[in-house]
C-alpha cells in the first residue's frame, strides 16, 4: 500500500526517496513532537503534518516539550531554536540525554553557526524557516527509515575492537556497548557496509539523510565528529573513522 499525497515531487535540495522507504507502516501513526512558541506556526504545521498521517503533539516551550516527551516519547522531535526561556539547543541536549530519537532543528538561517551548534547539541538534521511542509515530511521520512544493512546476511561486522550488529542496532567497542543515535548508527553502518572504501560527503548525505547533491556537508562533518567521540579511544586521532583528505571518510579496523 502506498500513501497518497507524498509522492517525491521535485523539491529543491531534496532527493526523491526510494519507493521501498515509503511504506505506509513506516510513517503512518508516527508521533511528532513540535516545539514552537508561535501558535500560528504550531497549528498550521500540525494541520499539515496530520494530513500526511502523523500524530502531532505540540509544545509551546522547551519545558513543556520535555514534560510531554517524558510522558510519552515521540518518534521525531521538531525544535525551533528561538524559544523563550529554555532555548532549542538546551531542549535538544536535554532530550538527547534520555533518548536517541531523531531531532530536527528549525533555524532562521542556513549560513550561521546555529546550524553547527544545533547539530553539536545532538540534532540529526536541520531546516530553515520558512520551509514547505513537503520538505519537512521528506526530512521526517528520511529520519524514520529503518536501517538496512547492505548485506542482509551480515549479522555482525567486526573492525578490530569495534563490533557492529546491524539487525539489533548494537555497537560495541572493546566488548562494551556504546549508545548511538539512529543517525549516527546509520552513518556507521553505511561506512561499515563497504569497509576501506572512501565515501564522499555527497554519497553519505544521500544514503544517510536522503539529500541530493546539494545537501549541507556540515551534517556529515558534525555527525562524524560525534561518532568519533563515542567509538574512538582518542577522537582527536581517530583509528576507525578516518578522514581521507579532499575525498571523504572511510572506516577501517
Amino acid at each position: 500500500m502506498r500513501l497518497a499525497g507524498i509522492s517525491p515531487d521535485r523539491i529543491p535540495g531534496v532527493a526523491p526517496i526510494g519507493a521501498e522507504n515509503l511504506a505506509a507502516s513506516c510513517t503512518m501513526g508516527s508521533r511528532i513532537l513540535t516545539v514552537e512558541d508561535d501558535e500560528r506556526i504550531r497549528t498550521s504545521v500540525r494541520l499539515a503534518l496530520e494530513d500526511e498521517g502523523y500524530d502531532v503533539v505540540e509544545a509551546e516551550s522547551g519545558e513543556d516539550a520535555l514534560l510531554a516527551f517524558g510522558q510519552d516519547p515521540a518518534d521525531v522531535v521538531l525544535i525551533d531554536i528561538m524559544l523563550p526561556g529554555m532555548d532549542g539547543f538546551e531542549v535538544c541536549r536535554a532530550i538527547r540525554k534520555i533518548s536517541d530519537v531523531p531531532i530536527v532543528m528549525v533555524t532562521a538561517r542556513a549560513d550561521t553557526h546555529d546550524v553547527v551548534a544545533g547539530l553539536e547539541a545532538g540534532a540529526d538534521d536541520y531546516l530553515t524557516k520558512p520551509h514547505a511542509p513537503k520538505e519537512l515530511s521528506a526530512r521526517i521520512r528520511a529520519l524514520l527509515r529503518r536501517v538496512r544493512p547492505t548485506e542482509p546476511g551480515a549479522r555482525q561486522l567486526v573492525f578490530g575492537d569495534l563490533e557492529i550488529i546491524p539487525d539489533e542496532g548494537v555497537v560495541r567497542v572493546a566488548a562494551e556497548e556504546v549508545h548511538l543515535t539512529k543517525t549516527e548508527f546509520r552513518l556507521l553502518v553505511e561506512l561499515a557496509s563497504n569497509a576501506g572504501r572512501v565515501f564522499s560527503r555527497e554519497v553519505l548525505l544521500e544514503r544517510v539523510w536522503g539529500y541530493g547533491y546539494f545537501g549541507d556537508g556540515r551534517l556529515v562533518d558534525v555527525h562524524i565528529r560525534r561518532l568519533r567521540t563515542k567509538i574512538e579511544p582518542d577522537p582527536a586521532n581517530p583509528r576507525h573513522v578516518v578522514t581521507v583528505r579532499g575525498l571523504g571518510y572511510k572506516l577501517q579496523a
Binding site: D38, S44, A132
Partner: protein, 472 residues
Amino acid sequence: MRSRWERLGLRARVALLFALGGLLLSVMISVVTLTFTRQTLLEQREDAALESFNFNARTVQEQLTEESDAVAIRDLIESLSTPRGEFPLLRVDDLWDGRNTTRFNQDRVPDGLVSFVEAGNAATIRAEIDGVPAVISGIRLNNNTRDADYYEALLLDDVESTLSSLGTVVVGASAITTMLAAAIGVWAARRALSPVSEVRLAAESLAAGELDTRLDMPADHDLASLASSFNGMATSLEDRIERDARFASEVSHELRSPLMTLSASVEVLNNSRDALPERSRQALTLLNDDLTRFTQLVEDLLEISRFDVGTASLQVDSLNLVEFVRQAIEHSSRPDTMLTASHDVEELVIAADKRRLAQVIANLIQNADKYGEGDIDVLISTADDMVLLAVEDEGPGIPEEERSVIFDRFSRGSAGGRSGYDTGTGLGLSLVAEHIGLHGGTVWCEDRPDGRPGARFVVAIPVGDEVLEELE
C-alpha cells in the same frame, strides 16, 4: 562660474605661483646685473678712450705744422698710438684723413658734433657706428698755423660681445631658477596638500564601500579638526547604512514566521483541493503561485541584506566543477539545458561555496528561461587561473546600454514582464553578482560568440588553488 585659474587645481596653482615668483626675481636680478655691468664697462672704456684721445690730440697739435702735406698728415696719423684699436680721424682744412676710413670717416661723425667742435669746443658723445656702440670724441686744435680738428672713435663691440655672453649666462640661470622654483612649488604644494590627498583616498575608499575607513589624527591641530570631522562623518554614514541594511534584514526575518504559517496552511488547503469549489481552487492556485514568489523574494532579500550588513561569508568546499554544474542544471528550472565542458576542465576541482554557486547557476538558467527563448547552453572553460561559466540563450539578447545595469537590484531591463506574468523577484542577477564577487570573481553579459541572436552571461571565478591546498 569658476575661472580658468581656479580650474587649474591647487597644486598646479601653487607650483605656477612659485615658478612666476622665481622668474620675476631672476629677471630682476638679471636686468640689474646686466645694466650695472654695462654701465661699469662703458665708463671704464670711456675713461680709457678719453685718455688716449687727449694724448693723441696733443700729439697732433704739436706735430701739425704749416708744411704738413697730405703725406705728412698720413704719417702723423699712422704714428698715433691706439692701444685699444681707437680710430683717429683728422681734418685739416678740407682734407679728412684717418687710420681706417672705411670704418670711421667724416660721414660717421655726427653733424652736431662737427659743428660743435668747429665752434671751438671739445666734446665726447656716444653714438652708433654700423650698429656698434661707440664713443666719439672731437676737439678743435688750437694750432694757429692750420685750420684743423681731431676726432677719435672707440668702437665698443667687445663690450657688446661681453655683455651678450653675460646675457646668455644670465638667461640660462634665470631659466634654471624658474624651473627650480616650480619644482619647489610642486614639492611644497604636495607636502602642504598631503593631508588633502589622504582625505581624498579615504573618501574614495568610503565610496567604494569600505565603511570602516578612518583618518589618522595628525599632530597639526588645523588638520586634526578636519580629520575629526571627516571621521565623524564616516561614523554617522556607517551607522546609517548599517541601520538601513539591518532594517531590511530584520524585516525579511520577521516575515519568515508568517510565511511559515502561510506555507503550511496553504499546503493543508492543497491537500483537500479536490473538495473545493472551482472558484476556491482558482484562488488557491493564485495563492500558491504568489506564496512561492513571496517566499523567494524574502529569501533573496535576506540573502542580499547579508551582503549589505557585511555578514555574508564564504563556506568554501572543494567541488568537482563539471559534476557540480551538471547536478545544478538537473535541479534547475530547465533540466534540459545542454552542458558543454572544454577538455581541460573535465576533472577540475575548484574551491567554492556550494550553496552560493548552485544559486548562481539556478538564477542564470532561470533568467535565460524567462527572458530568452529556445535552448539554453551552459559552457565551462578556463582562462588563466579562472574558471569561465557561460550561460547562453536564444532570446533577443540584452541591448548594450542595459548590460551594466542589468545586475542592479530590481532592474529587469526592457525584457522585464515580456513573458506576461513575471515570476522573478528582480534580485536574481544582483545576487549572482554578489555571490560571484564574494568568490573574488566577476560576471558580465555579452553577445553570443557564434553571432546568433541571444544573450550570454559569463561568470569568471578563481580556481582557488591556495584555498584548495588549505582545505586538503
